[in-house]
Amino acid sequence: MEPLSGPGARSSPTADETALDSVQFGEDIRHLISVPTENASSFTALLELPPNQAVELLHSPESTRPDSSQQQQYQPPQHFNAGLLTFPTNAALIERAAKFSVFAAEEDLNNNNNNGIGSPETNSAPSNSSAGLHKVVKTEPAEPVAYLNSSSVASDPTVATKDENQRTNNKRKEREKKGKGFSKKSKSAANENAEQLPYVHVRARRGQATDSHSLAERARREKINARMKLLQELVPGCNKISGTALVLDEIINHVQSLQRQVEVLSMKLAAVNPRIDFNLDNMLAAESGSLMDSNFPAVMMPIMWPEVQPNGSRQQYHQQQWNFDVVPQPAGGGWGREDGHNFITPENSLLSYVSSANSASLNSSQLKMEL
């Protein structure tokens, strides 16, 4: 391929550009379709050559023709190449093929002027790589190709076969169909590129809207769904429920129940607390906050209040009573040692109560060991 496009570069710079592009395009197509397309690209390279060189080269690669004619069915841009490639079957029409190649070059020049970017293939190349196969059909170069075909048919009626006529008609229809959507498509593609900077994780799948609003909306929805899943794991009994509304109901119920529990517990503490606060002050005034925190229950344990209603855990109460009956209680001086011990392992005292009532006995057994 390279040696083919080489001489073209020397003769005309624009032709070289298009040839390189066509090479690129051929590679893209090779990615998309399993059919080997090297020959086609070589032909496109050939077409960009000045007429006399193209004529020379067209004599030798006769064998490549059927391949390219197969590819007509897949690709409209290929049609541009292959439609011209059907001419050399008759040896008499080689000169005309050369003529068309010149024509094609002129078209490319026009395109260059119109687009201001480069040949149509350069426009199509990135979209090919980014989007799927279905986008290739809708890409821009289909338009100039179709124009080219129709014009070629008009200018040289002897060359045009019936097949080609039909094909061009089909292409024209296709173009008219997709011409409407095309401007939108290109615009949305640009939007997508702009949108993918802030939301990298958002990707529009096939058939999804790609304008900025729907992308943002989709991102928001995904975020909400993720949070919902997290909440579902947090709230017990929420895993089996499906449906956002039911899950939300469950979450609301859970939060309400927790808040009610806090209220009830604060009531309980308020009812219980006033009788304790003296002792709290007296016993813990000298101690620092962290010490108090760790030793709070240990200090409060020996105080008995028979008149207070024993809310809730009667079991624990009895267990503790029993434990304290068994364990010989030290008077004032003994607590200092226990305090020191508890300061080392602060989780033992209060946080052990959190888990179960059994921890109370564990605590007291520890006390026993210590004593």
Partner: protein, 169 residues
């Protein structure tokens, strides 16, 4: 139980107990002047507020929307208390006097709230989560998740403290 939860639990326990102690020290003189039921109600409210604010401090400080909302609310309540405005639940209903200004203010507030309040389940959740009325849906759910975790810890610790008190008596 993860390490962060344990840490949160310890932190909350410490804060809650210190605030309880602080609450108890000046209160012992005033308890005799009021009826017992009112005192308990008031105390329970104060304990609840202390629990919430200590939870908010222990959990995230000012890094979360809901903790910010809780702390600002407690701050405003404290300010009101310092300025000598006694909340309604202390004064018996017969002695309550409703100034016209305050009544108008209250009316306005409720009206505004009803406007702000949104329908449906999300609106309900907004009312439950502190500061939820100003949140966007995704943020609301995130804050709800954190809030639920913290509430669970809070309930557990408070239960432990209450159990301890009631059992040790």
């Amino acid at each position: 139980m993860s390490a962060t939860t344990q840490q949160l639990e310890r932190n909350f326990t410490h804060r809650f107990l210190t605030s309880l102690r602080r609450m108890n020290s000046p209160d012992s003189k005033t308890t005799t002047t009021h009826a017992a039921g009112l005192v308990i109600r008031r105390r329970s409210l104060r304990i609840k507020r202390a629990a919430y604010s200590s939870m908010a401090r222990a959990a995230a400080g000012s890094h979360r929307a809901w903790t910010r909302a809780v702390l600002s609310r407690t701050r405003s309540q404290r300010r009101r208390q310092q300025h000598g405005v006694r909340p309604n639940y202390i004064i018996p209903p017969s002695q309550r006097r409703k100034s016209v200004k305050r009544a108008a203010k209250l009316k306005k507030k409720t009206k505004k709230k009803s406007v702000v309040r949104r329908l449906g389940r999300a609106g309900k959740l907004r009312e439950l989560v502190p500061g939820g009325s100003r949140m966007e849906m995704g943020q609301l759910l995130e804050e709800t998740a954190h809030y639920v975790q913290c509430l669970a810890v809070q309930v557990r610790v408070m239960q432990a403290v209450a159990d301890h008190f009631s059992s040790s008596m």
